[in-house]
């Protein structure tokens, strides 16, 4: 289904994470991790490579090493893409940088731009859009506003959807028009179930969907989105204890449409804005169709 979506609705545009840059304590340096293993042909698809850099990697990278880190990242990306025969014009750097890593991160971006010669795009999280005077505006060509994860992930069964809810979103929308970068937007199409035990969050599971939770042999519904485990058992590799509560948070076509409508009002007009649906992979179990995507994208 992902392949079909990609071809029909997404105009064959795909953001693909190639590797992460993480701090390796043993090696005392930032190293690539989780390198992409491509299993199907990407022919005919426009790929924007994504590199995820952990904030910790930036924290421990000394200013003098920033430049060589950028060179290494660029070299590895060139190699991995050329192995796959991928041509690309843009690179997206994904990083939840903070006030303390701002300087290192921005220096990295400048150096990376110099080495790669590509257009750079950086992810912008909601707290960064709200406090640009503190977190700074990254020196890139374009930003990708991540319009999700705005609420607190909470054990409170009545708390609004943390992935997207209109009310929490309003805390951020007012700042959007003033941000000093052209912005693409990422909308959430993922879901997860929050496992709650004795009033505390245990874990988030993207692989548990409504279909699993609605099975009356295993769960009893407490409300529309909350389910209680009836016994202790294994399910999809997870261990569930009798009495565990699962709060499902996800997006449907309607809430996605609402998010699109809400954020589009605050975005400055821009040609060819990319709307990124995060993330369409085999783990996101949302029934989402090309038709929905086209309708929602029409808001921008």
């Amino acid at each position: 289904m992902e392949t079909e979506l990609l071809h029909t609705a997404a105009d064959k545009q795909l953001y693909l994470r190639f590797f992460d840059v993480v701090w390796n304590e043993q090696a005392r340096q930032s190293l690539p991790d989780g390198l992409l293993a491509v299993k199907q042909s990407l022919r005919g698809i426009h790929i924007t490579p994504v590199i995820y850099i952990t904030n910790q990697a930036l924290t421990y990278t000394r200013p003098a090493e920033t430049d060589s880190l950028a060179a290494k990242v660029n070299r590895l990306l060139s190699r991995l893409t050329s192995e796959q025969g991928i041509q690309y014009q843009n690179v997206q750097i994904d990083c939840d940088w903070s006030v303390s890593t701002k300087t290192t991160y921005f220096a990295f971006l400048r150096a990376f731009k110099r080495y790669s010669g590509k257009k750079l795009e950086a992810t912008i999280r909601l707290h960064q859009i709200k406090y640009p005077e503190r977190t700074g505006v990254p020196p890139v060509d374009k930003g990708l506003l991540m319009f999700y994860n705005m609420g607190k992930i909470s054990a409170d069964l009545n708390a609004p959807n943390s992935i997207y809810n209109e009310k929490d979103a309003t805390a951020y929308t007012a700042a959007i028009p003033y941000y000093q970068l052209p912005l693409d937007v990422a909308l959430p199409v993922f879901s997860w179930a929050i496992q709650i035990r004795e009033g505390k969050i245990q874990q988030l599971y993207a692989k548990l969907g409504m279909a699993d939770l609605s099975n009356p042999a295993n769960f009893r519904p407490v409300s529309a989105h909350v389910f209680k485990a009836l016994k202790s058992f294994y399910l999809k590799g997870l261990y569930i204890k009798n009495g565990d509560l699962f709060k499902f948070e996800g997006m449907d076509a309607e809430s996605l449409e609402q998010a699109a409508r809400q954020v589009s009002k605050y975005l400055a007009p821009m040609e060819n804005r990319h709307i990124i649906y995060y993330e369409i992979s085999s783990t996101s179990l949302l029934p989402l169709y090309a038709k929905d995507i086209k309708e929602i994208s029409a808001h921008f």
Binding site: R17, D20, N24, Q26, A27, L31, P32, D33, G34, L35, A37, K39, Y52, K72, R75, L76, D96, R125, M146, Y148, N149, K152, I153, S154, S162, F190, W192, E198, K200, I201, Q203, L204, A206, S232, F233, Y234, L235, K236, G237, Y239, K241, E279, S281, T283
Partner: protein, 762 residues
Amino acid sequence: MQKILKKFLLIFSFSLISAAGIVWACGGGDWDEADYSNFAPEAFVDRQYSPFFYNSWQSYYGTDVNDNSNTRYNRQVVEEWDGHLKNKVAVKDVNTLLFTASYGGIDSAYQYFKGKLSALPATLPDLKTSGLSKKQGETFFSYLLLAKQCEQFAVSNTTYYWDEKVPLVTPAPEIKGSLEKAFKKSRDPFVKQRYWFQLLRYAYFEELPALKADSSAGPDNSGLVTLFRQHENSFPKNSMYYRSLGYLAGHYYKRQDYAQANYLYSLCYNFSSEMKIPSKWSFHPQNEKDWAGSLALAKNNEEKITLWQMLGTVHDENRAIENIYLLNPKSEKLDLLLSRLINRIEVPSFDSVMDTGARPKIKAEDLALTGRIAAKGDTRKPWYWNMAAGYLHALNGDYVPAAKYYAQAKSQLPANDRLLEAQYRLLHWNLTLSSLKNIDGKAESSMIADLNWLADLRDQKDTVANLRYQRALSESIRILSARYKKQGALIKAECFQSGTAFYANDKNIEAMKALLNKSSKTEFEKTMLRYYPYDLADLHYQQGLMLTYQEKTDAAISSFEKAGKSAAQDMMANPFNSRINDCHDCDFQAVQTKKYTPLTLLRTIKTIQSEIAAGKNLYTNNLLLGNVYYNITHYGNARDFYQREITVFSSTSPMDIPKEFRPVFTSSALAEKYYLRAGLAAKTNAQKAKCTFLAAKCERNAIYNDLYNEPANQKKYYWEFDFSTAYAAKYFAELKSKYRNTAFYNEIIQECGYFRSYVNKF
């Protein structure tokens, strides 16, 4: 690696989670299970399980855990070869050949052994003189050469650096041929079994790349199962056998036959302590059906029990205990699970970290389970179950049943087990402490022995390896202090747990001094004072300190004279100096021809005061007093004058100074008074300007203090305050209107941007 990769798909959610509630538990390495626990698993559980003792912040408990798949069995392998070679080759040489020498190196050593090479590099062992027969040597070296080739695919480098190729090495087919040939040819069962292992491992890695795309797909052409089954009975059930079995399990796991895989992993887990970590790591039932399948594969109750222990250790101690107990109440595999159950409950919740008095919630099912099995008394270690049940009940506030379980345990304790006896004593003390109501003389006498014992443990005068006494120690201090406070016995409360507020009242200090000075202390008082952190000298210093700010110089000197080292330490800067811009570091580094101590500082104040009384050098002397009273506040260069343990040592921001002392240590009123007097005595306009400017600094500090002390600002960080426009308007106006033509005025315009911005603005 696979695990980490999956995490990143959801990276945003993970970062949110850690912010939401578990941050306090992940502070890094300074968290120790012994800090919050009263219950040492070492007292009850076999050592072979120690990596799986409950650990709230790391994968494994203890420091001697080898979690490296590449080196885990090295020691064992060396021992096995050493036995096989009948100790003829030095262990270090076996080690070199097995693990550090390259293929070429091994080959050279082999050629040298055979006499085909005349010289050998010094790094390689000479086996020619070892006494190995030609045949033994040949067998050993041939195996080594093949095994070395297999390392290409079998030894994984888990760290990926920047520039190498993605490491996925498919075994070369010619190795397989060589292995098969060697296996067939080999007559020596020791080496033959190793070739069998190599072949199985080869088959496992050979099919891996094909399985990765869709691990359930395709018929099994690997031949691995047949190879295993065909020969398994030809070899002893030793570590080589179980390591081979591990690859069979891995094969099933990759082909998604989880029932088989997890069952086989449990056999490996049960075999040796070395195999426990990798087997437990690999154990992953997916759905209840395959878990039931694993149980059905178990050949007897003991095998079922192993499976349950693994489930219990990984997920659910309670359920595992229930099931193992049904299968065999005497099973030693219950021990680990019970210790984990207790230790997990002991971990402080976020609420109890915030409020140390909060009682943990003990689930009824845990109370019932431990109580029921303890009451039955049919386990291998009935005292263990009684202590566990008693402790859970005590934690739950059920002191009467707790005492009953403990009494049972006491009657069952085996003799001459020091850790177990200490563990019992600790739990019993914990119950005494928790059930304490009014503390009278009788109660005090009964506590003396245990309180001294805890203090001995704390001071390392007594040591019991592995005993976890930190929680008991801190709870004793907290509970006794709170109890005495409630009873109105402030001195005793302070002895157990010291608080700053106590020292704001001089009467309290006098009472504490009286206790410390008492010549015939009771046994309880002596014990109690082992918990009191200060001595007489500290108290004298505290009194002298407060007298200094009250300008009772003589009395302060007399106190400091009794304060010993505290009042005799060199101060970091000269406290009689002043500067336009406060710069403590500059003052610390400045050449100081005379070093002051708190005592000599006060004596100097006294000399200056008497000169002032005699009308001598009024300008200079008042200026010096202004400086010293300025410097011994938060704003001056002599914070070390007041920064002591009682008044909080490390207060870098005024907000860190305890509120009882903050007004005194931050006020520049005394300094201002003397600067104004110096101004009155000044002869020149430049002198007057200087005094006015120094008074302006005091005025500005008062503005700062007002902001810091404002109730609405109590939760702010000091960098959140904005002082850029808080001008010392009164004295600045005076400077501007009266002293504009002095040289000093130009100096401050140059040096003090704050003043400059005022002048430009007004």
